[in-house]
Subunit: 368 residues, 4 copies
């Protein structure tokens, strides 16, 4: 089944494995007339590529993107946009001893059960490099959002037991932090924790939060194509994600109605405003015009150099060690992936909601 | 946009509002040959209808389902199955004073922004009765799962601050508990808590867990149509849901790789088994053959009789009270809804995975 | 596989068999704010029901439609619209002798091969009554089209060897003609031909043409979701259709470029106009603003009372006679079905095209 | 709207313009385990590329295809297959004088109305080179069909007034004929006719027929996703197509039931067989196991060097001449495109039908 497509009207199709010739994406349904250049996309890709700091693996890739179709004189044409990033560093030898093993926490076993063979080449379609297609497409969605005043920003809010202090958040610090936390103190504490993990040949999980601003009210198509339902699917589809929360998330279960309801209040100028945002900007599956708040929990990178009991292809359970390049943490590199999936979902819903009301359609067709 | 459809091959389309003539669903793509009767569906619906205990509203509905098409001599024909439940008790007068108000925590405001009008009749498509279509369809999916040895069971694991004791879980107690908790002590404590909420004219949130057993390995279509991504969308689409977790869920962020990886161990009989299930039965978005573990967090019912500040249609923020029938908690009635959405997702993926490998197709077409 | 759904944004799902409890459709994605009543739909249904003249079977059905959801105070709400028509006259006894036979030209054999059983009850989902759902939905699409100035009209252009004279077409005559031809002389000749067929216990094929007017330029989504490609699918899906043509249709194969190209000419007022319409209003799969011209060829009704060699369930080929109610021709009743499928396709594309250009989206969201 | 995707489970997404960097396709949902090499695909592409004979334009392209992902050790992996063909010869100067003109019969005007700009570079996405993606994907579908014993063959049955003699068809002659007709006499006559057209600076239309053999009974998903409906959409989506016919096609309208019904007869060996195939292998939208017969009518190539009245961007109608490379006929090069679209549709339906019956699913999951 065609599982590598995402979206309804603004639809992307990704392809490519970490050890194939390249990775790419085709974006279909992007409206015509949006300014788009390779630089717009490269800036997003640069925030995911390896080798940025000592906590990410030193694979030497420039990940330069090439636009093969879909633009003319610097603007989108409305035809499919094909983006390609060539693979360069594919050190096969790093993975030699795992050809016969199913690594714990990886998709080796499940892919074999599904497709009937074991592609041992470094994770194939389930590796982190698969996210290149998502991020490149997310950049294009980001340009569409920008045209309509919508923006998306994500950051790491926790690594292991270390959390940011919400009273001291500084968004300008995100790109300076090696772990992309908007809090210098927490960033330093997280770095210490990660150094400890690396010494122990272990890895850590983490949490990424994402805020979407400027989202018009009315996006989302009940009852199944709700905005939050689609965001949940988009974010859960990112590798290593095990939980998706909207607004207060899991905390709502311990809350009372009098605490959780977002009521209004009147400002000094007499204008009413939304006094809280426990709902995270979405009610009944539809955006209400306030910021959308998302939280995504990532498990620790499964590749650790400690000895582990693992299943082999003959069905035996034995101890082995996974050699190769191991990140102790995923989340700093996944921040741009979370932004991309959020941008892609919002782009699609901006286009879908255009057909909700007959007065919208009359507005378009009267002057056409 | 057509937002009331769910699924790809096994696809359902729900319709109906709480104050219209009825509620229903059309199930398209159910394979032929599955035994199906009204009783099969009624047993699921009975577990959601109101009036079961003092914690659910006393709306007098029998919610009898009628199969209008799609079966012949007691088995599915492969043609669309149309199910209908007529609305009987629609006390419009209960909602009179809210016609001009946007109730906090409800979708009143967002529906108005999206569609351009205010349907004040008790929540319309965003009310709890909308779940009738989901549950009826879930019962049909459940019959398909049964044919292939798959089962789904959900229960309430927490209400407010009261959680079950996992060491003392008794699944046989679920239907005896007025709050559907599989732990008599926790059930009693939760009832006390809810009585307190009712005295305060308030409501409580809760958590539902769901276990799917007998799921074959290999379900899920990477990278976007992963099984966990689709389960997240299905569950997040249920009204009042604010978080979806798989396996250890949010706890994975505080975990280390050495703790989180599910490794193998060898049993007394020398047969290897999966020694833990932190992943919740899904790796790389594909089922691995072990039980699938899901957790869904529900916010408190927004309708409470306490005075609240709310926006009215003229744009003013003023205090008002919502009269009418108010459940202090949603989760006991939502248990069967969680089972339904899980069953629907698994049914679709069982059908989708049939096309993954050329040897499967040869098996079908060689003898056809 | 869910095969009873049609459309992307404006999506319908039909259900029901000729010998089940009823027939219906759920329309999902219809924009809010469109006036809609049962009368709007009944007028379309009345043009298909049996018993209108001596050339259609005398099944006694009133086919009264009921709107079960999706409207409020006379306008669409944007939520799913469920329509139901109860079956009344189901004379099972008419079909008794065919339970063991596969009638030639019918779907009996193919349905059995596909689903594994023989539903002998008068054609089931492949009978003419299945079109009730299409036509009811087409009426709703027609109201949407009306809001945007688009209209659709079809008529019978040929029955057997009898064709209309295009120089003498009178659209006002269509509903007066028992065979829905816009030409009194041809209508009379066709009636004679049909009487002859009935005497011979035989049936006739025919052709329906359809003109869509007021269609804005720009509808259609290349390269696969072209407007003509979707119209072809919509029309070919009608039972008994064996050919779909756009504009000059099959005649283009014998034409030269100098003859077939639609060039411009200048009118007396100096305004250029399209001098011909060989293309039928669509170029490159996109509407050009001129009338869309469609032609649909129907095979003769397969049920004839003449003895025929037919296969039985044991695999033998033997002579038998099909008793029951036999129309000598389908096309007069299929005219409204062709209009319905055309309207449904255009409605969907009007909504899809709204997302083609960033300036359309800015127009919607700037004032929202 | 994403219009460049085709298929449900076996889904392709094409991209690229004639004057961009390249043309390609991503195939998603191809089952794992099918042998696939660049040679398999190149053989299909070679049958469409220009420069094969004097009736096709002399654009110098090798159209070498590159498989960028989706295979491992010579077999499909079940992950997306990305195919790329680089553009080489793009003589922009050939199209210089048309930047301000809307060429008659081309999509220039309609694309401008839809997307808001005029991409004059030789037809862009509506040019013949767009078919490269379709044909490459069709080759992959062809390999899947081969694994299940299904084959597809097309040929030119008419060019202008010249038709083949069905009593003398020789399929082995197809690739020897410069116009791909399976009849040497008709082929020679057609060549004369085309030489005459070229002298007149004109072009000709034609007809392509396609036969699919070995198709199992039971493919097609009523009532809207019927096999013939999807074939009609697939074929009508090919540029320049104006009619699609199944079996006897338009001739059925002049036929009687006693003539058109396909009845059985008993062979010498006592085994019943289908005595005719007026239905073209499809009844009730489902394949019946006999050969599927399709017929596709193509209009003449619109680009002719004769002077024509055409609209310019300022809205004036004036005479102009289109310089550049003009094929006098499309159909010889479109034969492989028709095969490709037919193969793609059948591949998708083979996968869809796998989920029709519960016994099929039990067969797959019992041994998994």
């Amino acid at each position: 089944m065609a599982g590598s497509g995402f979206g309804t009207i603004f639809r992307i199709n990704t392809w490519g494995e970490s050890h194939g010739k390249g990775i790419g994406v085709v974006i279909d349904g992007c409206p015509a007339g949006i300014p788009l250049s390779e630089e717009d996309i490269q800036s997003w890709l640069d925030r995911r590529r390896p080798g940025q700091n000592r906590y990410t693996t030193a694979r030497a890739e420039s990940d330069a993107v090439e636009i093969l179709s879909g633009t003319f004189e610097g603007r989108t044409t409305g035809t499919p946009i094909s983006l390609l990033v060539r693979n360069q560093d594919q050190r096969s030898r790093d993975y030699g001893n795992i050809a016969e093993l199913y690594r714990p926490g990886h998709a080796d076993y499940t892919f074999d059960r599904k497709y009937g063979f074991r592609d041992y080449r470094g994770g194939g379609r389930s590796s982190g490099r698969e996210t290149i297609g998502r991020v490149a497409a997310g950049a294009v969605a980001g340009r569409l959002l920008a045209e309509l005043g919508v923006s998306v920003r994500a950051y790491v809010s926790a690594i292991g037991p270390v959390s940011i202090d919400r009273a001291k958040m500084d968004f300008d610090f995100i790109e300076q932090s090696p772990v992309r936390m908007p809090d210098p103190a927490a960033s330093a504490a997280a770095e210490s924790y990660l150094s400890e993990c690396m010494r122990e040949l272990d890895s850590s999980g983490g949490v990424i939060e994402c805020i979407a601003s400027g989202v018009p009210a009315g996006l989302g198509e009940p009852v199944f194509e709700k905005l939050d339902a689609n965001l949940a699917k988009a974010l859960m589809s990112i590798g290593a994600v095990k939980a998706v929360e909207i607004g207060d998330g899991t905390a709502v279960s311990r809350s009372k109605g009098s605490e959780n309801n977002d009521c209004c209040a009147v400002g000094e100028n007499g204008v009413p405003y939304k006094a809280s945002n426990h709902s995270g900007g979405i009610l009944g599956g539809i955006s209400d015009g306030s910021p959308i708040l998302l939280r995504v929990s990532f498990k620790p990178t499964p590749s650790i150099a400690q000895p582990q009991q693992m299943l082999d292809r003959s069905g035996n359970c034995r101890e082995a060690v996974i050699h190769g390049r191991h990140d102790p943490v995923i989340v700093p590199r996944a921040v741009v992936v979370v932004e991309a999936m959020t941008a892609l979902t919002l782009a699609d819903h901006l286009l879908l909601a255009a057909a909700s009301r007959i007065d919208f359609l009359k507005k378009i067709y009267s002057s056409h």
